[in-house]
């Protein structure tokens, strides 16, 4: 690397714009990046396009509208929606107390927020399944209330909410931190109630970040697999998520069907991803890169 790092020094000014390219390494770093992105990301994605385009429209449509698959879309969508809405409320609350208040153990709580990102999904899956099982720590109490979580769609919501809660907290937190106290203090000193100040002063600058966090949480939930399969029970037509349908088709060696269903999920996720990025670019410039 040491020898080739110098190769970018010199007249690399092909797209010379506002900033002059004085730093070395443009050719090398962009070269590595493009090579890697093409090989690791784009080439495999093109494989999916090739596989599905070889299917023929009728067969493709038949596969993705199979009644069991359609039920899995419905289950995935409503559970992901429920989980991300829950995370919207709870994530905002967590971000709020972490930014606004001091209390003992705050640093530990702050560190624990990232646990779902650090903990392998399979571990999360068996842990939640054990907690919510009929004789589990949570399950036995919930059973007395007549609530069943394990092996029901509710279990899917729990698993999705767990794995995606950090997205909301970590998106809202920096915006809350940067919120200027001046407007808020002015409104409070003029006698407005806290609820009113929150709605009229704080929420308007907060909601773009909240929407982004919830959308990220939703996108992650759509694709979640490891944490879900242990707790969902995976009953056809009831508690099967779409990524499990892809997995089942793969185990049947029906690669074409797996690809067709995967392409539906992938399209939805990529559209969401690009929409979120555009949204962030427009409303959350200060959040760029986070």
């Amino acid at each position: 690397m040491s020898a080739s790092a110098n190769s970018g020094v010199g007249p690399v000014r092909r797209f010379s714009g506002r900033s002059k390219r004085v730093l070395p390494g443009f050719g090398l770093s962009l070269g590595i990046s493009l090579f890697f992105v093409s090989l690791v990301l784009l080439l495999p994605l093109s494989g999916l396009v090739v596989e599905t385009s070889g299917m023929g429209w009728d067969q493709f449509w038949f596969t993705i509208t199979d009644s069991r698959v359609v039920e899995s879309y419905k289950v995935t969508l409503w559970t992901a929606l429920a989980a991300s809405v829950f995370n919207g409320f709870f994530g905002l609350l967590l971000a709020w107390i972490l930014v606004r208040y001091e209390f003992p153990g705050k640093r530990i709580v702050d560190a624990f927020v990232d646990l779902p990102f650090a903990l392998p999904t399979a571990v999360a899956g068996i842990t939640l399944a054990t907690l919510f099982a009929q004789n589990g720590w949570y399950g036995q109490w919930l059973a007395k209330l007549g609530v069943e979580v394990a092996f029901t769609p509710l279990g899917i919501v729990v698993a999705m909410a767990f794995t995606s809660i950090p997205f909301v907290v970590r998106t809202v937190q920096p915006v809350l931190e940067e919120l200027s106290p001046a407007d808020e203090e002015a409104a409070v000193s003029l006698g407005a109630s806290d609820g009113r100040v929150f709605r009229k002063v704080i929420f308007p600058s907060l909601w773009p970040a909240l929407v982004t966090g919830v959308a990220l949480s939703f996108t992650r939930s759509l694709g979640e697999f490891g944490a879900i399969i242990f707790i969902a029970g995976n009953t056809p037509y009831v508690s099967e998520v779409t990524s499990l349908m892809v997995f089942i088709r793969l185990q049947e060696y029906d690669y074409a069907a797996a690809s067709a269903i995967a392409s539906v999920v992938l399209l939805a996720s990529l559209v969401l991803l690009f929409a979120i990025n555009l949204w962030q670019g427009r409303y959350l410039r200060r959040l760029e890169g986070r």
């Binding site: 999916l48 640093r107 995967a262 991803l273 760029e288």
Partner: protein, 285 residues
Amino acid sequence: MDTGHRRVGDQPWVRRTLIGIALLVAMFMLVIPVVVIFAEAFSAGWSTFAGNVTDEYTVHAIGLTLFVAALTVPLNLVFGTALAWSVTRFRFPGRKLLITLIDIPFAVSPVIAGLLYLLLYGRNGWLGGWLASHDVQLMFSWPGIVMVTVFVTCPFVARELIPLMQQQGSEEEEAGVVLGASGWRIFRKITLPNIKWALIYGVVLTNARAVGEFGAVSVVSGNVRGETNTLPLHVELLYQDYNVVGAFASASLLAAIAMLTLVVKAFVEWRQSRPIVSTPEKEVS
């Protein structure tokens, strides 16, 4: 918090209620699950735990998992650093697109990630067929596991570096160029010390995810016990065999890595927050 500068939610009862609710939910959602992992792992005593983690297949799974991480992390370290350097130090057409593209693994379901590689490099895939005719098998063996793990973890280092390097700006490096330093020297002496902690956290995060990836690896591994079984897959296998204590023993190893990741993160944030306070000459770009 005197009355002259009161902000929303400063009243003691509001503060206590909000903190109370949040801590209660956080406890049930985040803390107790970790407790339960270790409680289950040790529920049959220390010797059973020791027996479980020194079991022949568990040891093999640990070895394979570490091997995969050892290959994945350096690859993504080089890629992430190169990508962050190119998108934060230069302007070029397609720069924004490149930043969005590296987020793809975050949006793609792990199962689909595995499927993508299976389609391309599997026996019937268009590259896999050619490779098979040369006696190279990538899927259902360790190279396939490494490949999907690289895919799944490739955004982490870049994602940690990009915001930091953007915020730091390139004045210091430009000064290095003016003073005649070579590119490698500028990177080593100026850039690296500035991004050191973010880089470490990126590596730790990449490692945590590489060690713990389940969905994508499960698709391409073939799950052969003692051969292509990684630790998360081993956890699943034991759990499906109703060996819950054994499953949690292996899971506790993964949970320990996760806890370590959180500790490193807290430490890195503490280190990063210090120089901003202590060096007033720090320029804002």
